[in-house]
Structures are given as structure tokens and as C-alpha cells.
């Protein structure tokens, strides 16, 4: 079959007009947040002392971290879903989250007496954290990977990792409403492990299924 034959067939195949990728991404983000919220409410729900917690800086800081991560990872996944976009700069925005967290952890180490550092890092909810962040995040990750399949990522694994970070950021935001370990030391340890797990799953699945 020569190229002109192929072009004839492609030109005849004008069956569907698909919605633009930009419109889809915002729909996907809303859907992913709604899904994560539904799973969170069905499994955990917010902690009973939520109103009191809202007045403590450590509790509020958790959301600064998780929402920063979700927003920067969303931007990266979106950019990576198009073949020609310049993604390196957007990739650098991801550094904001670890930078914030490192700064807060240093402050925490200064503020807390050294004999409770270990207990603060270990916390009381590490197993719950490692369980529920993936449980809440797996739905949003699936939605995001389907969106990547519709796109044309030239770096599927990296795009999948970004999708995993986004799903992890959303899941951690909801999980943080329930968790009573508010120290940045706890966040930097356990949230990081849980979210990195989702990023690895995302990279692996996208490498396999978002190729085109």
C-alpha cells in the first residue's frame, strides 16, 4: 500500500469530532477529586476535632504541601500529554513541594526537643497513611491514565509518574483531613513513601498502556 492510498483512507475517516484535550483535562481533574472524595468519605471521613485542628498551623501546613504537589503534578501531566510541549520547565515546578517540606522539617527539628524527634517521625498512623493514600489515590490515578491514553505522551513513563503524583497529592489532601499526625516530620516520611508508590505504579502502567 503506498502513502497516497493511506492518505485517501485517512481523509475518508472523518467520523468523530473529539473534544479538545484541554477541556478534557479539567473534566478529568474534577472527576478525579470527586472520586477521591467519595472514597475518603466512604472509608475514613474527617477527624472529629476538625474544627479545632483548623486553627493549628501544622494541620493547615499539610494542605499547603499536598495541594502544591497536586497542582504542580497536574500541570506536568497535562503538558506531557501533548507531543510537542516544553515540559522541562514545568517539571522543575515539582521541586516546590520537597522544598516546602524540607524547610518545614528543619523548623520542626529546631522547635521540637530532640528526644521526641523519633516518636514524632514514627507517629501513630503510619500504617493507615500507607494504606489509605493508595486506596484513595488509585481511582484518580486510573482516571488520569485513561486521559493520558487519549493524549499523545512522548514520555509515557514520566507522564504516568506525574499522574501518580497528582493522584497521590489529591489522596493525601483527603487523608490529611483524618490523620492526627500533623508534624512535617511525619509527612516527609510516610506521605512521601505512599505517594512515591503511586508515582511508581503510574509510571509502570503508563509505560505499558499509554504508548501509542
Amino acid at each position: 500500500m503506498d502513502t497516497n492510498d493511506l492518505i485517501r483512507a485517512l481523509a475518508a475517516d472523518t467520523r468523530q469530532t473529539t473534544p479538545s484535550l484541554s477541556a478534557m483535562w479539567w473534566g478529568v481533574a474534577v472527576g478525579a477529586v470527586a472520586l477521591a472524595g467519595a472514597v475518603f468519605l466512604a472509608t475514613l471521613g474527617p477527624r472529629p476535632d476538625l474544627m479545632a485542628a483548623l486553627e493549628t498551623p501544622r494541620f493547615l501546613f499539610k494542605f499547603v504541601v499536598t495541594i502544591t504537589l497536586a497542582a504542580s503534578a497536574f500541570g506536568l501531566a497535562r503538558v506531557l500529554s501533548r507531543p510537542e510541549e516544553r515540559w522541562r520547565q514545568v517539571l522543575s515546578y515539582l521541586a516546590a513541594t520537597p522544598a516546602l517540606l524540607a524547610l518545614a522539617a528543619i523548623i520542626e527539628l529546631v522547635v521540637l526537643p530532640s528526644d521526641i524527634w523519633a516518636a514524632t517521625i514514627i507517629g501513630r498512623n503510619s500504617m493507615a497513611c500507607l494504606t489509605y493514600i493508595p486506596v484513595i489515590g488509585i481511582g484518580p490515578l486510573a482516571v488520569f491514565l485513561l486521559a493520558l491514553r487519549r493524549g499523545a505522551p512522548t514520555r509515557p513513563a514520566l507522564a504516568g509518574a506525574a499522574a501518580g503524583l497528582f493522584a497521590g497529592g489529591i489522596a493525601a489532601t483527603f487523608y490529611a483531613l483524618q490523620c492526627t499526625d500533623d508534624s512535617p516530620l511525619f509527612i516527609a516520611t510516610w506521605y512521601t513513601i505512599a505517594i512515591a508508590g503511586l508515582a511508581l505504579i503510574g509510571a509502570g502502567l503508563a509505560h505499558r498502556f499509554a504508548r501509542w
Binding site: T14, P83, W212
Partner: protein, 178 residues
Amino acid sequence: MDGRHEADLARLLRAAKAGDERAYGAFLQLAASHVRAFARRKIVRGGIDPEDIVQETLLAIHLKRHTWRDDAPVMPWLIAIARYKLIDAFRRRGRRMEIDIEDIADSFPAPETVSIRTREIDRALATLAPGQRSVVAAVCVEGRSIRETGKSLGMSNAAVRVALHRGLAAIAKRFGRK
């Protein structure tokens, strides 16, 4: 990059998105000549036929055309897809190559070639289900319209369109894969 080609590509692709089949055909011809020039320049050693890359890229452009932003230049998008497909082809053949991004700026159309030997696309076509294969073959090789194809195969126009679209998507998926 040739500004006039860029403007032509954008105009034709916009018209194609609005449903103009002739504009889409013209867009694909122009895109093919750019991709052909790109592929010929990048494939310095044998083992890969540039025309296979052209065809695989055209299929990808077709199936991923919704990833082009109406306000973005067409050429970088086109070449990014071609490069992805070229790297994929090299990977399948177990080779490595370095791609010089600076080279992409000055692509130019090259004369067309017609070949009658077996291509990757024919191998992919052969793996389709018989129904899809006969529709794709009728439109591609025999050059029939959707309506003529429907009449000769005893199918509705809608069924022909579905079979054609699915057949092309399946070819794109199986391209170059054993």
C-alpha cells in the same frame, strides 16, 4: 522553518477539523512530505524504510489530531510525533540513535516516491479481521468511496465508517509489531 508551509498546514488542519475532507487530504499530503524529509535525514544507516515512518506517523497524526491546539504551530507538533515514531522504530530494531533537535527547524519537502513492495502497513493490514480488512482495502487500495464500499460489501454507510475507523486504529496499533 518555512513560514508559508506552517501557515498552509495550520489553515488546512483547521479546515479539516471543521469537516473538510479535501483540506484534510491536502494537509496529509503536505505533512507526509515534511515527515519524509525528516525521516530521510535522520535514517542514515539502513534497516528502516523512511516511508514506513511516514505512514506510521500519518496514522498517529490522524488518531491523535485532537492533541493539536488550534492556536499552536503545526510543524513542531508534527515533527514531535514523527520523532516519537522514529525512535520507536529504532527501538524495535534494537538500535540507538541520537536525535539532534536543532536539525528539525529546516525541514523541506522532498520528491514523492511510489513503491510497490511489501510494507509494514501491509503486514499490519493482513492481521485485521476479514470485515475490517475488506473495508480498509476497498477504500485504500481500490480507492472507493464510503458509499461505493458499502454498496459492494452490502453494508450501511455508518457500518463502513465504523469498520474503517477501527481498522485504521488497529493498523496503527500493530504497525511494526510482530
